[in-house]
Symmetry: C2
Subunit: 354 residues, 2 copies
């Protein structure tokens, strides 16, 4: 099976999730010993997972943490210095970051995808080298990257999704690392939701009021200088996006095309997922929104995608940490689908529910 699909080929493969398959799983859940629908969103997770994969059990889970640097950090939009991007990538590879801990908790692998970190890494089993450049250009002054580079990012992500299908990875999580990357994410949020920049821009890793005001100005300038076209998602990604955001967008697109459910982490991952879902309307049906980030621009993007977040725990870390946690809910949902007996099997009387 080919994994090196073009963007156009990928888009042509994406189909809505089959409503007949969804209904068949729900019918099974409705015969189990519990009031109908009483497991709430766990039932939705089970239905979608099974309808997409035709499986009831997850063989392997992986979180892909896409990393990239951002030219816009020179505008002073982040609380952390740029060298933290490669430092954290090394921390991921050594297993010492929050995503490693939470992925171990979830029984998932962590794979770091270098989409564009300004650093040359030594090869490592947990690192995919998909470097498109050594950091984007400063989006406040011009396009973050060329259109060709944006397509390369998308196709790198797409290939990972098809590779997951080959390897029996039945549930994929997205994650990000890139100092400065809430800035392009907020820009993407503003473009696709049409909301004013100041209503979708927040503190990232913890900037103060002055830096937040600067960040808002920088994004406003970037949108003015670049004039990204919301009807052309690749244009938006190229002009005000980032390499890791493009990789995430490609992974989400590829998952929809390959039939792999994808758990989308927080603010940055959702910016990537939004680019993907603007490219094809059925992409959203393959997305499990992991959690609601503290970032104020997150909710508008989730609404645009049409997915409700599973968790709301005040998290704002990225890396895929929310995705890893949310994967455990999908596991729980499937466990319940597989193991709960029906009214007949258990000899329990049925109710007269409305």
């Amino acid at each position: 099976m080919r994994t090196d699909l073009t963007l156009a080929e990928t888009l042509s493969l994406i189909r809505p999730v089959d409503p007949v398959k969804l209904a068949a799983v729900q019918a099974r859940l409705d015969r189990q010993t519990k009031p109908r629908g009483s497991l709430g969103r766990l039932e939705e997770l089970a239905c979608r997972f099974v309808a997409i994969t035709a499986r009831e059990e997850i063989r392997r889970k992986s979180v892909f943490t896409f990393a990239g640097d951002h030219g816009v950090v020179q505008e002073g939009v982040s609380a952390f210095p740029r060298e933290v991007t490669p430092q954290m990538v090394l921390n991921f590879l050594e297993g010492g970051a929050a995503i490693n801990a939470l992925a171990r908790h979830a029984g998932a692998d962590v794979v770091v995808v270098d989409m564009g970190v300004d650093y040359e890494f030594v090869p490592h089993a947990g690192l995919l080298d998909r470097k498109v450049g050594r950091g984007t250009a400063n989006l406040a002054r011009g396009p973050a990257m060329s259109r060709a580079a944006a397509v390369r990012c998308l196709e790198a992500g797409i290939a990972i999704a098809f590779d997951c299908r080959e390897k029996g990875i039945d549930l994929v999580g997205t994650g990000d690392m890139g100092i400065g990357n809430t800035t392009p994410s907020a820009a993407i949020a503003a473009v696709f939701t049409g909301r004013p920049v100041k209503t979708v821009t927040f503190r990232g890793t913890g900037i103060d009021d002055e830096a937040l005001a600067r960040k808002i100005r920088v994004i406003e300038e970037g949108l003015k200088v670049n004039a990204p076209d919301p009807s052309d998602p690749v244009d938006v990604l190229a002009k005000v996006g980032g390499y890791e955001i493009g990789g995430i967008a490609g992974l989400v697109l590829g998952c929809a095309a390959a039939g792999v459910p994808v758990v989308v982490d927080g603010f940055i991952s959702t910016a990537g997922a939004l680019v993907a879902s603007e490219l094809h309307p059925s992409v959203r049906e393959y997305i499990f929104a992991a959690h609601r980030s503290v970032e104020i621009g997150h909710t508008g993007m989730l609404e645009r995608i049409g997915q409700q977040p599973l968790l709301d725990l005040g998290m704002r870390l990225g890396e895929g940490t929310g995705a890893a946690l949310a994967m455990t809910l999908v596991e729980g949902a499937l466990r319940s689908l597989r193991e709960v007996r029906t009214f007949d099997e258990a000899g329990v009387s049925e109710g007269n529910e409305r």
Copy 2:
């Protein structure tokens, strides 16, 4: 170590969680390689668990599903017939219900506590016989139980908590089974929150509009006939509560006294936890509120307790299903506390967060 404490002895043992210990855990989290506070409520979970237990790892987890029958079902307040209570208890003991599946998912045992089911069970390893009666009296016509019976329920739950401490069960979950038990729970919600009955009463396992209107009338009558005194929580439990609700209240009280964190499930469990937290104001600090139930009376009780639910997944099953899921979040929080490296260990530059 004695486990057969009286209610008064138990209340005398309850202390606030030590703020110095909480701050020490937070200080450790703040040195880890992530923006300060960026794991949100996971950090709160880790702080409280460690401050309460002086441990960073959970040795054993158990969900206690308290079961009881309710005289008020003769008023037609439930979508399921009364015999479903013992049928579901047998289903739990055979491992076939949703709580069994989700507890296996969480790595927790399920223990069923018969507080007052109208059925004689054959002894079983997973069943504790703490029967106080064979179903409560109809709370619409008079007290559900005597004050002495209410104290027996509380002390049965207290003993279980102290037994957990002896057995190395470091995290306890609450659950319930009892056809009709959203009716006493809504009554308890109305009494302690002071809200009108119709604003705290909902569909339980799935009653229609007519039955819901009847349920509201029944509770209003019960409150009028019994006049429970909100300043005397044992009086409230006796007059409009239930045996399993009393057992849950006792377990939560006992956990606070024994220093065992307790994950409180949904609507019925929260009614029990509310009785406990009205008996002693520090009880709430030992409670992890698992999830927000679909039942409309739940939020007011959680506000009164002062705990935010961890999950909001549209669940309304009870049994301890939400508690089992939320236990996995506590596990994740502790994993992160134990395994994430500090900035120094990882060689990562620190930020200038506000």
